[in-house]
């Protein structure tokens, strides 16, 4: 059931093109049924999980490699699963309206559903390797979604940037996970969490922690990797709302939270999380305040929230983890809603620039009300859930065991800024003097408002009655991050205390900042432009440029376009290395024994030698191709003679088809001319003879020595018993070593694509010009 739940997104993705033809413009509503069902399924697990139990569902995948499709449901993964499927439902509905009539709508849904399934897999995986596979799948689907408008060069560039940062970080993460497997000896999250092994006393610990941190920081857009996230706003808005605020970017934070109870108590872990988290929080808040594009504003405020989450894990007290879970849920609710509303604004007015919007209150009243509520949650004002979360954040920072004052200063500064940002998002477009926008604005359609409305309503309900979510899942989530049972006891009103005073200060200062925004804005813009020349993004571009330069240098040196040189390098390196190993390990031994040979065996051998000599000296290309064919047929005869009919038949057929292919190519070649000097020909001859001699010696040596017992007897004995086949060659190909064959047919496919693109696309280019 769990396996089906995770993989159903992929299955439905396969059916999308067909469904799209049937369902037409209602496709969003139809597809949303799946995440709705999944939400119901995950909700049905709530009683078990909140009872303090964790579910472990085991499925084999590749047991020989320690890779399984095991899923673990605990409080943390359940909260994530509910957010992914719940918000996913509304995003799919929303996208059907937002992208109405788009020619690639079906493609969009295929990738979107694949992403959803990958993300569910990520948060539910118990196996570290499977987790990593899903992690990379989310990076890849995110890449395809950012670059969805692939005809736009800017979108492609941003997509590639997102991919390089997240997938590059993913590779580092893989190293970290493998080190973690070395340290703990286990591939399973649940085993690692349950063991009381002191991970941070192990010699590999520092390397493992640094790698995991880099992986999580790139994915969750922490400073200095934060620059890819705002650029990811090139994606259609449903993608920004789903991947780049509510779900995918939280994968890094999820990983940190998942491992927290095993890593906690280590200085490297907590201090890096606190430092980078606070830095990200402040940077994000400042950049959000200084941007004008509504999606950029929201993206930077997402960066801020991700920083807050990281910092709270770093603080690591019980209070901080409670705050972490609340900020996580609150942010997903209001940010998902705000992004969808921003998309509605963009869709209805035709601009993303908040300086060009104003007075939309009259034309878009429903959108305005929902935006107002969501913005209240963003600003952390009562009675929304954002307020509860922010108060908890202040409280846990106040009681942080270390760096309390520094973190508090950063937290207050960012919440001042975020109040101003909330004003930018809500007050700026909807109030003030009406401005003319590229489109005549009117309220967004129902499909685009239902999602934000429900999410905001939830934020309101959770705010007024925070014990509701707490008893259902949040307690369990906090317990699984903290590592032991916790009662959260959330409440909207805590009486007058320091966090409340800090909230008041933030609100006041934030309002003043918002009023001053108009005046400050040009200065901020100038500062940011100057800053971007030395910022991390500039570093990214220099790095990419360096890679291209190195690549073109080595291409100039190694791949200069002369086929003969490629061959020469390949042959010399291969046979030089193997020849060296052979001669030092085995020595030079030549003992031929021809006494058992039959005269027709010599005949075939002579035929092969003669064909080879003819192929290399003839001036006729056709003759050379034909004699290579003769050579192949000779080898086939040998196979048949030594009773390997399968090999013989295959060899015959391959030879025949190769000759045909070569003949097809021959027609295209220019007339035969002799371009090489005698010296070059003698050089080539020497290399060829050298390669042949080494190969012969290797063959003789292979007959002579056996380091291992041959596996053939196993195949002979088990071919019929285990695999029900009498033809051992075939049984090996399609059963015992099926994975190899699968790889080989994919190589075949790649080769076909290579030839196709070389021959066909070039011909089309010539045709055009």
């Amino acid at each position: 059931m769990m396996l089906l739940a995770v993989l159903s997104g992929f299955l439905l993705a396969l059916a999308v093109p067909a469904l799209h033809r049937v369902a037409g413009r209602h496709i969003g509503w139809v597809l949303a049924l799946l995440p709705a069902l999944l939400t119901a399924y995950f909700a049905s697990l709530i009683p078990t999980i909140s009872g303090g139990e964790n579910l472990l569902i085991q499925n084999q995948w590749m047991p020989g490699l320690g890779v399984s499709l095991d899923f673990m449901v605990d409080g943390l993964s359940l909260v994530f699963a509910l957010l992914i499927s719940g918000i996913g439902t509304f995003i799919l509905i929303y996208a059907g309206s937002y992208l109405k009539g788009h020619k690639d709508l079906a493609r969009f849904y295929v990738i979107m559903l694949s992403f959803m399934a990958s993300m569910l897999g990520l948060v539910l995986s118990d196996n570290l390797i499977t987790f990593f596979v899903f992690w990379e799948l989310t990076s890849i689907t995110s890449y395809m979604l950012i670059g969805f408008n692939h005809e736009d060069a800017e979108a492609r560039k941003c997509a590639l940037q997102g991919l390089f940062v997240t997938a590059g970080g993913g590779l580092v993460l893989m190293a970290g996970l493998i080190l973690l497997i070395f340290i703990t000896g286990s591939y399973s999250f649940s085993e690692i969490l349950a063991s009381d092994l002191a991970i941070h006393e192990h010699g590999y610990y520092t390397a493992a922690a640094v790698c995991v941190l880099i992986g999580a920081f790139t994915k969750s857009a922490q400073v200095p990797f934060h620059f890819w996230l705002p650029n990811a706003m090139a994606a259609p808005t449903p993608v920004s709302a789903y991947l780049h605020s509510a779900t995918m970017v939280k994968a890094g934070v999820y990983l940190l939270a998942r491992l927290n109870s095993s890593m906690d108590g280590d200085a490297l872990w907590s201090y890096s999380l606190m430092f980078f988290g606070a830095a990200t929080m402040l940077t994000g808040a400042y950049l959000a305040f200084s941007s004008t594009g509504i999606k950029k504003v929201l993206a930077y405020s997402t960066v801020m929230a991700l920083g807050t989450l990281t910092m709270l894990i770093g603080v690591g007290t019980e209070k901080a983890i409670i705050a972490f879970v609340c900020v996580l849920v609150a942010h997903s609710l209001y940010k998902g809603a705000l992004f969808m509303l921003a998309g509605a604004l963009d869709h209805e007015t035709g601009t993303k620039d908040i300086t060009k919007m104003g007075g939309l209150w009259h034309s878009m009243p429903r959108t305005a009300i929902i935006t107002g509520l969501a913005a209240l949650s963003l600003a952390g004002l009562p009675p929304l859930f954002g307020f509860v979360a922010k108060e908890l954040m202040f409280e846990s920072v106040l009681n942080s065991p270390s760096w309390s004052w520094g973190l508090l200063a950063a937290a207050v500064a960012s919440s001042i800024l975020v109040v101003a940002v909330a004003g930018l998002v809500f007050l700026k477009p909807f109030f003030g003097p009406a401005r003319t926008t590229p489109k005549q604005p009117h309220d967004a359609p129902f499909a685009m408002l239902i999602g934000p409305a429900v999410l905001t309503l939830l934020a309101l309900i959770f705010g007024v009655a925070p014990f509701l979510p707490a008893t259902f899942v949040l307690d369990a989530a906090v317990s699984s991050v903290y590592g032991s049972g916790v009662q959260t006891a959330l409440a909207l009103w805590h009486g007058v205390n320091i966090p409340l005073i800090l909230s008041g200060v933030s609100l006041l200062a934030g309002s003043l900042l918002f009023i001053a925004w108009q005046g400050l804005h040009p200065t901020l813009h100038a500062v940011n432009t100057a800053g971007s020349r030395v910022g991390p993004e500039a570093g990214y571009f220099r790095f990419m440029l360096g890679i291209t330069q190195i690549a073109s240098w080595q291409t100039r040196v190694l791949q200069n376009g002369v086929l003969g040189v490629y061959l020469l390098i390949l042959v010399l390196v291969t046979f030089g290395l193997t020849g060296y190993t052979l001669l030092t390990r085995h020595g030079f031994q030549l003992d031929f024994d021809f006494s058992n040979g039959y005269f027709y065996e010599f005949g075939i051998a002579l035929l092969i030698v003669a064909a080879t000599v003819f192929a290399s000296v003839t001036r006729s290309r056709l003759g050379s191709v034909a004699s290579v064919g003769v050579l192949g047929f000779g080898v086939a005869l040998i196979f048949i003679h030594f009773s390997a009919p399968d090999l013989g038949i295959t060899q015959l057929l391959v030879e025949t088809l190769t000759v045909i292919l070569l003949v097809l190519v021959l027609f295209k070649l220019p007339p035969f001319v002799n371009l090489s000097s005698p010296w070059e020909r003698y050089r080539d001859l020497t290399v060829a003879v050298f390669a042949g001699a080494i190969m012969t010696l290797i063959m003789l040596a292979a007959l002579d020595i056996q380091y291992f017992d041959s596996i053939s007897s196993y195949y002979i004995e088990n071919s019929y018993g285990l695999a029900f086949g009498k033809n051992i060659v075939n049984v090996i190909l399609v059963d015992f070593r099926q994975l190899d064959t699968l790889g080989e047919i994919f190589v075949l496919g790649l080769a076909a694509m290579g030839v196709y693109s070389m021959v066909k696309l070039r011909a089309e280019d010539q045709h055009k010009s």
Binding site: I649, L661, K668, A723, G725, N727, V734, L748, K760
Partner: protein, 141 residues
């Protein structure tokens, strides 16, 4: 490229069905006797190549109906699909599954994921070779 010899035309039409039947024969017997998807695919490809030599790339495309690249893709999909059924019965991916379907009379039909995989190999080989040959032939025109 299109040849106008009557002998080749007639021979191609006569031989091709035999080659195709032979290729399927090889594919199906492969598990117990010499044969298999790879060889079968090669034989099928040689049948279509013969046809292409006699009647040209365009008519071969028409005869195939499906684009060679799609045949290749279908082959890869078959190959992948055959690895999945083991998961449903809780075994490791790629574990072969066998179903024996009794036939009227004494015999029974041996069906398996291995056969699905072999069909995948057959289609992939056929698709690859036909992609080579048809794109090379068309680039001459």
């Amino acid at each position: 490229m299109k040849t106008n010899t009557l002998i080749l035309h007639t021979a191609a039409l006569a031989i091709m069905p035999l080659q195709l039947m032979f290729s399927i024969f090889l594919l199906l017997r492969g598990h117990d006797e010499p044969g298999g998807g790879f060889i079968g695919g090669l034989v099928a490809a040689s049948a279509f190549v013969l046809y292409a030599f006699a009647f040209g790339a365009e008519s071969t495309r028409k005869l195939l109906r499906i684009s060679p690249r799609d045949i290749l893709a279908a082959g890869l999909l078959f190959g992948l699909a055959s690895t999945i059924p083991a998961l449903w019965s809780g075994q490791a991916m790629l574990t072969a599954q066998w179903w024996e379907v009794p036939l009227p009379g004494e015999g029974y039909l041996k069906l398996s994921t291995v056969l699905i995989f072999d069909i995948g190999v057959y289609l992939a080989v056929l698709g690859t070779l036909m992609t080579f040959v048809i794109s090379l032939m068309e680039s001459e025109e």
